[in-house]
């Protein structure tokens, strides 16, 4: 084989992907392993850090504030999963409907919250959810109900964060469902319609099963994102009141940056990684992604 063959088939392809490999190694792979090593150190403030083995991890298991952040995160995950995914599917079904006029407008509108900056979203929702002047309480009072302290009531604040999360990201998952819906062969619906299938039966026996791979992807990616929620509680409530909306990622940030305890912060990051890894594996098994397809 000549030099031309080597260059074309073995060298040039790697040269083209080399910039990505370098960036990936420097900004992704190296920090992942470096932060793992930091999690075994007593890195507090500036200066020398001592090796303490699993000291940070054992402290984590007796940290009441960590458990509170874990409970808040689980609350957020369950709340958004139950609300956001059905909402995204419903939106996709609506904007995919041939009956709907101005479909492009509605598709864009549903996706707009995704691309709106987080600080802008938090300013708007701080006003909408305000106890005295907020739109929500104004509507409640018009309906003859008492106003609700959406952001300052410890029992309600996580629901407010969930509400903002659902509003913000339903459009994102809608796109995946929409792509899935458009990939379903229309002949299936025609054949079922000829057999007399009703709308609900069409959804139950054609749409839903055909969307299974998309559903698996949406569930898994949603879970990974929800477990790492940070910007909404950080901007809207700063984790308050009294830690009632502090999530794991926010607690990690607090320890690493506000308290300048990088070793402990890294241990929280790795524990979160482990939780996400185990849950994702479980989800993949549940959706049968490890099953071998038989021809």
């Amino acid at each position: 084989m000549g030099k031309k063959y080597w260059r074309r088939n073995l060298i040039y392809p790697y040269l083209f992907i080399l910039p990505f490999i370098v960036f990936f190694m420097v900004f992704d792979i190296w920090p992942i392993f470096h932060s793992l090593s930091i999690s075994f150190l007593d890195m507090i403030g500036l200066g020398k850090a001592n090796f303490i083995g699993l000291g940070n991890y054992s402290r984590l298991f007796s940290d009441a504030n960590f458990y509170q952040s874990l409970r808040n995160t689980v609350h957020y995950v369950i709340g958004t999963t139950l609300l956001q995914i059905p909402a995204a599917l419903l939106l996709a079904l609506v904007v995919n409907s041939m009956v709907l006029k101005l479909r492009s407008f509605f598709r864009t509108s549903a996706f707009l919250p995704v691309i709106t900056s987080a600080p802008a979203v938090s300013i708007i929702f701080t006003t909408i959810l305000d106890y005295r002047y907020g739109l929500f309480n104004m509507l409640l009072e018009k309906a003859g109900l008492s106003p609700v302290n959406w952001l300052q009531d410890m029992n309600l604040v996580m629901w407010s964060i969930i509400l903002v999360g659902v509003w913000r990201f339903a459009g994102y998952n809608m796109i995946y469902f929409l792509a899935g819906l458009q990939g379903i062969p229309p002949e299936l619906y025609e054949a079922a319609a000829i057999d007399g299938a009703k709308k609900w039966q069409l959804f139950r026996y054609i749409t839903f099963p055909c969307l299974r791979p998309v559903l698996a992807f949406v569930f898994i990616t949603h879970m990974i994102g929800a477990l790492q929620v940070f910007e909404i509680p950080y901007l809207l409530t700063q984790g308050g009141p009294a830690g009632a909306s502090t999530t794991i990622n926010l607690y990690l940030y607090q320890n690493a940056f506000s308290f300048f305890r990088f070793g402990y912060g890294c241990s929280i990051a790795y524990l979160l990684f482990l939780i996400i890894f185990i849950i994702s594996l479980g989800q993949m098994k549940f959706f049968g992604l490890f099953r071998r397809e038989v021809a």
Binding site: G45, D130, A242, F257
Partner: protein
């Protein structure tokens, strides 16, 4: 011949340029970061004056977002690169840099020594670690109580500051007067439902805080517990106070007369003045009510300071700038007028420039009141564990106000969490 003349002339020019460039003095550039828009308004003219007086020094001032100024500096210290020479840091965020073995700032104790008699000594406490001073404070931030004169008159109470000061001599008096001012659509005052800022001012008046001068945790001492109980009672038992709304809603509510009074340091009252134009001309201002057994009429909350980083290659030049900008009398009155922030220089505080009628406060000389109170601000000592204490203190207030825990339970839990971290 002509060709050789041109070559000789060009060579002479090149040699001369080289000599001039080599002989020219290198200009010192100092990068200075800050986050405050109001501070930028008075600091830029001061920088221009300094650069004229010191033509070899250039100050490269950059206003960054708050997080970039604080977290960004932290990252720069850890990376050892991109560290600015002069920095402004908020009071709560300064101490964390002293948690490790390294001291990333220049020790200013000896440099500040000749100026200490001119400074409000109490303000050096928050920037003193391990017995050394590491920053020049930007401010004093004395706290006062402001009240709606019209609401007091409506309730049949005196409304002139001298009389109201006697009426609200102590916090028990405030409670009783608050009951007369409170009605279904109005409270006496807003106080945070899950933050410690106002509570901090109340305990500082009694010589208490989160830490004592030895650095021991005092969050759960008797004064703090008793004061938190009073705070919770104002909200829940006597209902003369309402939880502060957040953000813009706080100012809207004040402007619409939802409360008869407000309290806070100069910067906080300055924001209230700025964002409540409808109620301008209806306010009066008095010192804070005192606590039984303590005759302290003011407190403080918040602040910022200027420091030189160890990465600075020209600390002498940086110190010349710091002296010029922050320790000179002529810049002090500008700082008050621009930002409602009294610098910690006694000669500014005693300056007649502050004694001007303020239309917002019905032509009361508000600056004069704040200047008097600035000299009475109680001292307190910052700890490197303040970020943790602040977080758990806020949680304790939230739990006590929501009545999920008693003040004693909440503060003891908070104190134990901080002590555990300190071990």
């Amino acid at each position: 011949m002509k060709k050789w003349s041109i070559i000789l002339a060009l060579t002479a020019i090149l040699v001369l340029s080289g000599v001039l460039i080599a002989g020219a003095k290198e200009k010192i550039t100092l990068n200075f970061i800050d986050w405050s828009y109001t501070r930028e308004q008075w600091i830029r003219p001061v920088i221009s004056k300094f650069e004229k007086a010191y033509p070899d020094i250039k100050i490269n001032f950059k206003r960054l977002a708050f997080a970039a100024c604080h977290d960004g500096l932290q990252t720069a210290f850890m990376a050892g690169k991109g560290i600015p020479e002069v920095v402004t840091q908020e009071i709560s965020w300064f101490g964390r840099f002293f948690k490790g073995e390294e001291r990333p700032f220049v020790d200013l104790t000896d440099l500040l020594a000749p100026y200490r008699p001119k400074l409000v000594e109490a303000r050096l406490g928050p920037y003193t670690f391990f017995g050394r001073v590491w920053a020049i404070p930007n401010d004093v931030h004395p706290a006062a109580l402001i009240y709606r004169r019209d609401f007091f008159s409506e309730a049949g109470l005196p409304s002139e500051p001298a009389e109201v000061e006697k009426l609200l001599a102590n916090w028990e008096d405030f409670l009783e007067v608050g009951k007369k001012l409170t009605r279904p659509d109005r409270h006496a005052i807003f106080i945070p439902g899950a933050d410690f800022g106002y509570l901090m001012m109340m305990v500082l008046q009694q010589g208490s805080w989160a830490f004592n001068e030895k650095g021991e945790v005092t969050l759960d001492n008797d004064i703090n517990i008793r004061t938190l109980q009073f705070y919770v009672d104002m909200l829940n038992k006597y209902k003369i106070a309402a939880p502060s709304p957040a953000g813009a809603a706080f100012y809207s509510a004040i402007d619409e007369g939802k409360v008869a009074a407000a309290m806070g340091p100069d910067w906080h009252l300055g924001y209230i003045k700025k964002y409540t134009p409808k109620s301008a001309g209806k306010w009066g201002a008095i010192p804070l009510p005192v606590w039984p057994g303590y005759n302290v009429r003011t407190a403080t909350w918040g602040g910022s300071a200027f420091a030189i980083t160890k990465a600075c290659k020209y600390p002498e030049a940086a110190w010349e700038f710091m002296k010029f900008a922050f320790l000179e009398k002529e810049n002090g009155v500008i700082r008050w007028l621009a930002a409602y922030q009294l610098p910690p220089l006694k000669e500014i505080i005693e300056s007649p420039g502050l004694r001007v009628p303020d239309p917002y406060f019905t032509n009361q000389t508000f600056g004069e009141l704040m200047a008097k109170l600035a000299l009475e601000v109680p001292v307190y000592y910052m700890s490197i564990y303040w970020p943790e204490a602040a977080t758990y203190w806020a949680e304790a207030v939230g739990h006590a106000v929501a009545m999920k825990k008693t003040p004693e339970e909440a503060l003891k839990e908070a104190a134990e969490k901080v002590r555990k971290i300190m071990k």
